[in-house]
Amino acid sequence: MALDAEQGQLQPAPESFLAKDLVEDISRDGIDPARRKLLQNALAAAAAAAAAAASMVAPSLMADDDPDIVNLPSWTRSLGKPVVANPYGQPSPYEANIVRRQSPGLTRTDQSSVSFTPLQNLFGMITPSGLHFERHHQGWVDIDPRRHRLMINGLVETPLVFTMEELLRMPSVSRIHFLECGANTGLEWGNVAVPTVQYSHGMLSASEFTGVPVSLLLDRAGFDRQRATVLLAEGADGSSMTRTINLENALDDAMVAYGQNGEMLRPENGYPLRLVVPGVQGVSWVKWLRRLEVGDAPWATKDEVAHYVDLMPDGTHRQYTSIQEAKSVITAPSGGQKLLKQGYYDITGLAWSGRGTVEKVEVSVDGGRNWRPARLEKPLLPKALTRFHFDWVWQGDEVLLQSRVTDRTGYTQPSRAQLIEARGTRSIYHNNAIQTWRISGDGEVHNVQLG
């Protein structure tokens, strides 16, 4: 649709046609009558030139013409902005809606809280760093990298200390991985609680992380291969978050990361150092990492006994639940959005598995009665996001959209009914059920659960 406001608008740049010394004079001495006369002449000349230009670019509009084509817009007829107008580039002002958001009333404070990634408007398999979801337990901090240290102790020959300078000198790897909070979709166990995919699935992000393999650091410290079974990771912030990590898995692919999407980590994501534990829930990816301790028994830290434990119907809690099992969600169209027209749409979404690579994704438009395969975007990387697409024509009828992933281990994402049959509805964590979006006849998309 054409923006009428843009039509025929001319914006002469006031200073570009004034003699440079005149500008300098005026700004130094103010305007006296003689200078005012000069200025008037210059402005009149500019106005005439502008009028001539306008007649060239605004020919008469024919009935079928798109005014946005025929009336050249202002940006086609003006000088653009200079380099480094934004030394650190910013999104277009037209994208201002696409930001991290809090779920009102979810937490009682803003420092032990969550902000969600706007999945509904993102493309591909990488989350822009500034939109990576946040979960802090005691606020976030700005750490001076010169004063940050990583200590490795416990069952090692020699406890070691590394500076950031030393870590950046070490052999590094770059890997793309998803990072999902164990409580993602946790609000939806009992019933529909939130309107959009941002709030239902937005504790999910993915980045290319760069850092040093944990195995290399532990080798350097000479860890005790006979006795070691676990690793404790600890943060340098006020909470000094601690989590017990499965050592066998960590030796495979965990890293101590400083890079995120080509630059240093963002402070909210752990600058200057965080643990990356692919496939494992976010809380274990300890931010502002200051210490790794090698051990032979788990630590039962606060976030391993009071939280991040999954309550079962018999009143017991499952402890040390870490792996994020295969899950998928359609991100567009999704809850809170509206289809304006009938016809072709590219249904798209994300699929991932903490146990490896995505094998296939299927989409249903009838609430799970019939399924057809989606097209998977390459590369298919282990413990990373996979983007899927599904060609679809909307005929204005009511639709129940679902997606379902199967990973390389053969595991298929369960329906909500299958999941709650095994685990009840009060476990908070690890809800990887199939998501349903209902499109009504008027094109509105709503979050629903089926039974």
Partner: protein, 342 residues
């Protein structure tokens, strides 16, 4: 063998080199230096369930109560039961049977609020966490003796120990034996290891599958705007604009720039744990403070009060000193607090 050991055995194969383990290149052993013993003890403060890492010391319920009222009650309530800043730590709902069985029966009851003490199986956890992270706004300021006292006080509030109880490094093991939910954790699941076996699996049916397709839950119309106007939360051009959920006449007033900047400064400086815009929390509301101190002449006083803390102006609850507040933030906050009512 402990249940953990059995659990670990399930997965423990010999730790061999795997796909992307790198060989140690020459020269790498010169990076990193040995940590001194003193350095390790400065950071390695963790306490395990077997109490490895626990420093010696002791504290009784009475000492714990005193520390609690001075340093913890403002957020957690006098009896650890407040729901204002965080979920309740204790409510008087643990029974003698729970303590005897080591499993809190009411965890089965969806109507019962799950408190910290109902869940925590391991005494070490309370000790470790309070020592490392509390008080929330001034972590790592408590002595070991104070922490023993505080844990004793919390256990007393939960009827786990009596009023004259003294907790120390020598009776942690026997006190652990009374933890109400000590047998409440299960390791019987496949989510610890990448190789673990899943407990649920989805269906592979692709045509005419028998599934329920009746909508059993959706957001009621009145809740559609609970997260704000959805039309303003998605890309407002392109194929899928957002649903307009804001009710006419309910439009929020546009907040001025100054206020927004201050909100960031406020939460970033740790003020919003105790103050909110409207209504008393631990401290008075910012609205009340701004009404009282409108005018530039109050700037120096407020600056001083924020940095140094103090009590008595609004009640007996003290405001802690906030010396770590960043200069820019402080300037903004004070300018905003004195800028008068919007």
């Amino acid at each position: 063998m402990s249940s953990w050991a059995k659990f670990a055995m399930l997965f423990l194969t010999v730790l061999v080199s795997t796909s992307w383990v790198m060989a140690m290149p020459e020269g790498l052993d010169a990076l990193g230096r040995p940590a001194t013993e003193h350095e390790v003890s400065a950071w390695d403060i963790d306490v395990r369930p077997d109490f490895a890492g626990l420093p010696p010391g002791s504290g009784d319920v009475w000492a714990g109560e005193e520390t609690w009222l001075a340093q913890c009650a403002s957020c957690h309530g006098d009896f650890g039961d407040s729901n204002e800043i965080f979920a309740p730590l204790v409510l008087g709902n643990i029974t003698e049977e729970d303590i005897a069985s080591g499993q809190v029966a009411s965890l089965k009851d969806p109507a019962v609020t799950r408190t910290t003490l109902m869940k925590v199986p391991t005494l070490s956890t309370l000790w470790d966490y309070i020592y490392r992270a509390m008080p929330w706004n001034a972590p790592k300021t408590l002595s070991a003796d104070e922490v023993y006292g505080l844990v004793a006080y919390l256990l007393n509030l939960g009827y786990v120990v009596g009023d004259d109880f003294v907790l120390s490094d020598t009776n942690m093991v026997e006190t652990q034996a009374r933890m109400p939910n000590r047998n409440g954790m299960s390791l019987d699941h496949g989510l610890w290891s990448v190789a673990g076996a899943p407990d649920v699996s989805g269906s592979s049916c692709t045509t005419d599958c028998t599934v329920g397709t009746t909508v059993t839950s959706s957001l009621p119309a009145y809740a559609m705007n609970a997260h704000g106007n959805l039309a303003e939360q998605v890309r407002d051009w392109g194929p899928y604009p957002g649903i307009w959920t804001e009710v006419e006449g309910e439009k929020r007033e546009a907040t001025s720039m100054v206020v927004e900047v201050s909100e960031t400064a406020l939460s970033g400086s740790g003020c919003t744990g105790c103050h909110q815009m409207e209504g008393q929390l631990v401290g008075p509301s910012f609205d009340a403070i701004r009404t009282r101190y409108a005018g530039q002449e109050h700037a120096a006083y407020l600056r001083d009060k924020i940095l140094n803390g103090g009590a008595g102006v609004w009640g007996s609850m003290p405001m802690p000193p906030m010396p770590a507040v960043d200069d820019n933030a402080l300037q903004q906050i004070v300018a905003w607090l004195t800028s008068g009512e919007e």
